[in-house]
């Protein structure tokens, strides 16, 4: 079995596990937690395509999260679109926006790229705030997001919404996995490690970065759509710099070198938030301490650490086999 089919099989298994949650009668709070986590998980996973795989640290990724959310919310509130049509429209809008922003940003590197993305994000955020008649300004999209039935699916029903979010989430994760394991994904890593060398090999670095930027933005946009469906609204802080910062936290918490690291970070961050908020209002203090411990203690995300240890053990085992073989060979020779 090729790794591609194995990955798709694992994605299918993941989807089955997610769908088993309501089947086993999990309380609504657990489903809510998972749905919230899926929305933010897509934001973090998509950002890691830029940070972890391409070496592009974007401080403005939340603008695409918000773009997906607002485009979908506004399309649904207009009453002219079905949910699938609004979904496609929102992704299309996010892609177009990413194409324009990316065409300008990806030509720059490191801190210049980071700050330009931040600048575009703040521009977008201020458009949301300022265009009150269209976006609702700082009050966000009020009055709820209509969810008319389509193909017999009723997203007003929380279980059906959960199933819909699970399918969308797993499809996005599978797409991301296919991207990072494809030749295109390896090109991204080459650009991250040495973009001059990649250019000398004939790779159009700017175009590859731009394609990566657009794919990443679209996945973040889907995250925004899922959150919009969950909270039945879209709010300016979806696109504020703190949301981008939160996504970077999630990557830090989970690890950027393992594919599912940012998703683990999302779960850790949301768990920390949900648990600490029940006991204290000093949530940020707890998060700060955890991040300090990770940065100063582990110096990497937990999944990165586990992956590294696994690799070390695997190599040690292989070395032991080689040593034993050498010993046998030496004995046979003598």
């Amino acid at each position: 079995m090729t790794s591609r089919w194995r990955d798709l099989g694992l994605a299918g298994l993941g989807l089955v596990l997610l769908l088993l949650v309501p089947v086993f009668g999990a309380p609504p709070a657990i489903r809510d937690f998972i749905m919230f986590g899926m929305a933010y998980g897509l934001l973090a996973m998509s950002l890691n395509l830029l940070i972890g795989y391409t070496g592009l640290v974007s401080f403005g990724h939340a603008m695409f999260f918000a773009a997906g959310a607002y485009a979908f919310g506004l399309a649904m509130q207009s009453g002219k679109f079905s949910i699938p049509a609004a979904f496609v429209l929102a992704i299309g809008f996010t892609a177009l926006m990413a194409l324009i922003v990316g065409a300008i940003c990806v030509r720059l590197n490191e801190i210049y790229f980071a700050f330009l993305t931040l600048a575009f994000q703040m521009l977008f955020y201020n458009i949301i705030l300022g265009w009150v008649s269209f976006t609702g300004g700082d009050q966000g999209l009020m009055g709820g997001i209509p969810r008319p039935k389509f193909l017999g699916i009723d997203l007003a029903d929380r279980t059906q919404l959960y199933v819909f979010c699970s399918v969308a989430f797993v499809v996005c994760i599978a797409i991301l996995r296919q991207v990072v394991t494809s030749p295109f994904g390896y090109t991204l890593r080459m650009i991250r490690d040495n973009q001059e060398r990649a250019a000398f090999l004939g790779i159009n670095v700017t175009m590859v970065k731009l394609a990566c930027f657009v794919i990443s933005a679209c996945i973040a946009g889907v995250g925004g759509i899922l959150l919009t469906l969950f909270v039945s609204g879209a709010y300016p802080n979806f696109g504020f710099w703190t949301t981008s910062g939160e996504a970077i936290f999630m990557i830090l918490l989970g690890g950027s070198n393992v594919f599912l690291g940012p998703l683990a970070g999302t779960v850790i961050l949301r768990l920390l938030n949900d648990i600490t908020v029940s006991y204290t209002s000093h949530t940020e203090l707890v998060l700060g301490i955890v991040i300090l411990v990770l940065v100063l203690g582990l110096r990497k995300g937990p999944l990165d650490l586990l992956a590294e240890r696994w690799e070390n053990r695997r190599q040690a085992a292989a070395q032991a086999i080689r040593d034993a073989a050498d010993k046998d060979a030496a004995k046979g020779g003598s």
């Binding site: 999990a26 309380p27 609504p28 709070a29 657990i30 809510d32 937690f33 919230f36 705030l129 009150v132 609702g136 300004g137 700082d138 009050q139 966000g140 009020m142 009055g143 709820g144 007003a156 959150l227 969950f230 909270v231 039945s232 609204g233 709010y235 300016p236 802080n237 979806f238 779960v267 768990l271 949900d274 648990i275 600490t276 908020v277 029940s278 006991y279 204290t280 209002s281 000093h282 949530t283 940020e284």
Partner: protein
């Protein structure tokens, strides 16, 4: 005593938290706390951290006294009220999730939404879906209850409303303007929806009552802006006769402290809707005298024995002074308690809503000693609205004039027609 979840982290709480985390680690899901048998749990999503944490602290303070009394009297059918307070940090999506968690996880039967405006709209959508009773106690944005598209049958508001303040304030400002010849006006309000709509509505009604008023300068400092030098200079250069400001909280404190350096308040008449509230009046280094100050909460407004007793009791139990949010929440708690008595302890959202709709409560915060939950749009009316003149020390306000509600009702109806809310 009303028990409140959340708050300080004692060793036991920390251990419980650690235990919950361990459990969560095993099952991969958030901890689920079992509802306490018998207690009527009231979920309170609010802001307890960050720059406006005072909103949450003084809101909870306002609720606690009412629920404590209810519990001390034995509750209803042996059931006492238990508040479950959660910090949403003011983020709408967090407020929505926290509200859902309060209902699904903590088994809260009633939601008392002590959020600021944008989060209140997110909570409203959760309530639309789950149908429990909800009282919005802090959101002043008029559309929350005025816009029929946003209407949710089981959601009510006990907070003051922007449009009511604008009409009452505009009337008061026009009278002063006519008497003192204040024709050229400048405005200085925070640059976000509340600041812009509040200022536009105030000036609209000031002009409605005095046609000679004209706005010659508008200044929109950013929310949480630290330096107001440029704004103050702009206001001074405008040479206006009067200024209106909807700045609030820490921003208002910073603005006044910096404007005092330039003597701004000596050079023009100033009207500030959010000035007269504890948390502002006792934080400003040099509180300006003679500023026209909107009524938020003050121990001498109304100058009654009941109000003074309420104030003293609040300070004694909470160790801080009450704010506007405190009385709004106290009134919300009173409505819940009265509704519970009417339904004989049944917390069903529809039944509670039927009980509250149109209810009039005896209250020291009402103009005629009572406040009413208006049935047509589930919002509070007849509460005290008005302006006074600021004093630099206690009681910080003098010559307070309450606005009459009849003209407010009349103009509010016209405003609703203009907005397309009614035909």
């Amino acid at each position: 005593m009303t028990s409140i979840e959340s708050g300080r982290a004692s060793r036991r709480r920390v251990l419980k938290g650690a235990g919950a985390m361990a459990a969560v680690g095993l099952v991969g899901a958030p901890a689920i706390s079992k509802a306490q048998t018998g207690a009527i749990k009231i979920g309170v999503p609010t802001i307890l951290s960050g720059r406006v944490a005072i909103l949450g602290q003084t809101s909870v303070g306002g609720l606690k006294d009412v629920f404590d009394k209810f519990n001390a009297a034995g509750g209803i059918n042996g059931r006492k009220i238990e508040m479950v307070v959660r910090d949403s940090k003011g983020a709408p999506q967090e407020a929505a999730k926290v509200t859902r968690d309060l209902i699904n996880n903590d088994k809260c039967e009633i939601i008392l939404d002590a959020e600021a405006s944008s989060a209140a709209f997110a909570v409203q959508e959760v309530i639309r879906e789950v149908g429990v009773l909800c009282i919005h106690s802090n959101s002043e944005t008029s559309s929350l209850t005025a816009d029929p598209k946003l209407h949710v049958p089981t959601a009510f508001r006990t907070a003051r409303q922007g449009i009511h303040d604008a009409i009452g304030g505009g009337d008061y400002a026009a009278k002063i303007a006519k008497a003192k010849g204040l024709k050229k006006w400048a405005t200085c309000s925070p640059d976000y929806a509340y600041g812009r709509s509040n200022t536009a509505e105030f000036m609209e009604y000031a002009k409605h009552f005095d046609g000679n008023i004209q706005v010659v300068e508008e200044s929109w400092p950013k929310l949480f802006q630290p330096d107001y030098t440029e704004v103050v200079t702009k206001l001074l250069n405008a040479k206006a006769d009067a200024m209106y400001s909807a700045l609030w909280g820490g921003d208002l404190v910073a603005f006044i402290d910096q404007a005092n350096l330039y003597g701004l308040f000596d050079k023009q008449a100033s009207f500030m809707v959010n000035l007269g509230d504890y948390g502002v009046v006792d934080q400003v280094k040099q509180f300006p005298q003679g500023v026209y100050s909107g009524g938020r909460y003050n121990r001498v407004v109304p100058p009654t024995k009941e109000n003074e007793e309420w104030y003293q009791n609040y300070v004694k139990t909470q160790k801080h002074k009450p704010t506007n949010w405190s009385w709004e929440n106290a009134v919300a708690a009173e409505f819940i308690v009265e509704a519970l008595k009417k339904t004989n302890g049944d917390t069903n959202g529809k039944k509670m809503a039927e009980a509250i709709k149109g209810m009039t409560l005896k209250s020291q915060f009402g103009t005629k000693g009572s406040v009413t939950m208006r049935a047509e749009d589930n919002t509070l009316v007849d509460y005290i609205i008005g302006y006074g003149v600021s004093l630099s020390k206690e009681p910080y306000v003098a010559d307070f004039q309450s606005s009459a509600w009849e003209p407010i009702f009349e103009l509010e109806k016209q405003w609703k027609k203009k907005q397309g809310y009614i035909s």
